[in-house]
């Protein structure tokens, strides 16, 4: 699975995710990637999110929309909401991670698996990439 989230100079947010699924998956099985609010979500008022991992758990817990809801209704920061959701998902068998961007501030890239291919960049143009912790 691959994904991207962005905030442009006008403050608009967007998210995208694309995947081949799981090796040897049952034909017809669909994970969280195309389920808006689970694997992919964007709303200018809160955040843009793209997830990757155990799709069934991310769907059942509406992972991406959950982060937006905690920002909107609980007043949490993006970082708090994103890291809390990823930590809670792992207690329900949800291995994986996510990338998220908010109305302000830097992107967050939490994960609860052995690693996540990830990267971010901003106005300075420095391309930050990482694989493991």
């Amino acid at each position: 699975t691959v994904g991207a989230v962005a905030r442009d100079a006008a403050g608009n947010l967007a998210a995208g995710t694309s995947t081949g699924g799981i090796t040897a998956k049952r034909p017809g099985r669909v994970g969280d990637t195309p389920v808006i609010g689970a694997g992919t979500f964007a709303d200018n008022a809160t955040c843009a999110v793209s997830t990757t991992g155990t799709g069934e758990v991310f769907i059942r817990f509406t992972a991406a929309a959950e982060i937006a809801a905690r920002i909107r209704y609980a007043g949490q920061t993006l970082e708090q909401a994103a890291s809390d959701v990823i930590a809670e998902l792992s207690t329900h068998g949800g291995d994986g991670g996510l990338i998220a961007i908010g109305v302000t501030g830097a992107p967050v890239l939490p994960f609860n698996s052995s690693g996540m291919y990830r990267g971010f960049s901003g106005v300075d143009g420095v391309l930050h990439t990482a694989i493991h912790r």
């Binding site: 991207a4 442009d8 699924g21 040897a24 843009a48 291919y117 143009g125």
Partner: protein
């Protein structure tokens, strides 16, 4: 707090255990990630829209067989390719999603066509492919998406199941 433009990307979680990823292999992933970041960053740096930057970055990752999307996608147990993708614009909550398709070179571009041209949000399978055939979307034959590494992973998993062995696959094999 900064309100400047920025983007983030991911190429999948789980990944190959650190011990099994030698420096050269790790560098190929870093190069691929930087290529995708650069594509998105270039859009944002010239004042482009976030949804355009997201598309540009994901297209690079889809075109790189290192990652489990489009070229380099994993196989179903029936040896088929079924790809899923979604895109969402935070400015107006417009969204487009696809599931169980094979053919569009870049599923994220196909998802964007669903968002902008289909009048729906979520399309699947043959109906989605028929709609996409009417759009300005580049299609590729299944061979384009097929890679030896993913075929090997499929065969290992099917062999394991036939033998009734426990599932000890790495995250990398399971999630590609």
């Amino acid at each position: 707090m900064s309100r400047g433009f920025c983007l983030a990307i991911h190429g999948g979680a789980g990944t190959i255990p650190a011990a099994a990823l030698n420096t050269a292999a790790a560098e190929t992933y870093h190069v691929a990630l930087r290529t995708a970041l650069k594509a998105g960053w270039t859009v944002l740096n010239r004042g482009g829209a976030a949804v355009d930057a997201v598309c540009a970055a994901i297209v690079e990752l889809e075109n790189d067989e290192l990652f489990n999307a489009a070229r380099g996608a994993v196989f179903t147990s029936a040896g088929q390719l079924e790809m899923d993708a979604a895109i969402m614009n935070g400015a107006d909550r417009a969204a487009g999603a696809l599931a169980g398709i094979c053919g569009p070179k870049n599923p994220i571009v196909a998802a964007r066509a669903v968002m902008q041209k289909s009048g729906t949000v979520f399309m699947i399978g043959a109906g989605a492919e028929a709609f996409l055939q009417t759009q300005d979307i580049q299609f590729m034959p299944p061979d384009y998406f097929t890679t030896p590494r993913r075929l090997d992973a499929l065969h290992r998993e099917l062999t394991r199941r036939v033998a009734g062995m426990p599932d000890t696959r790495s995250d990398a094999d399971r999630h590609g």
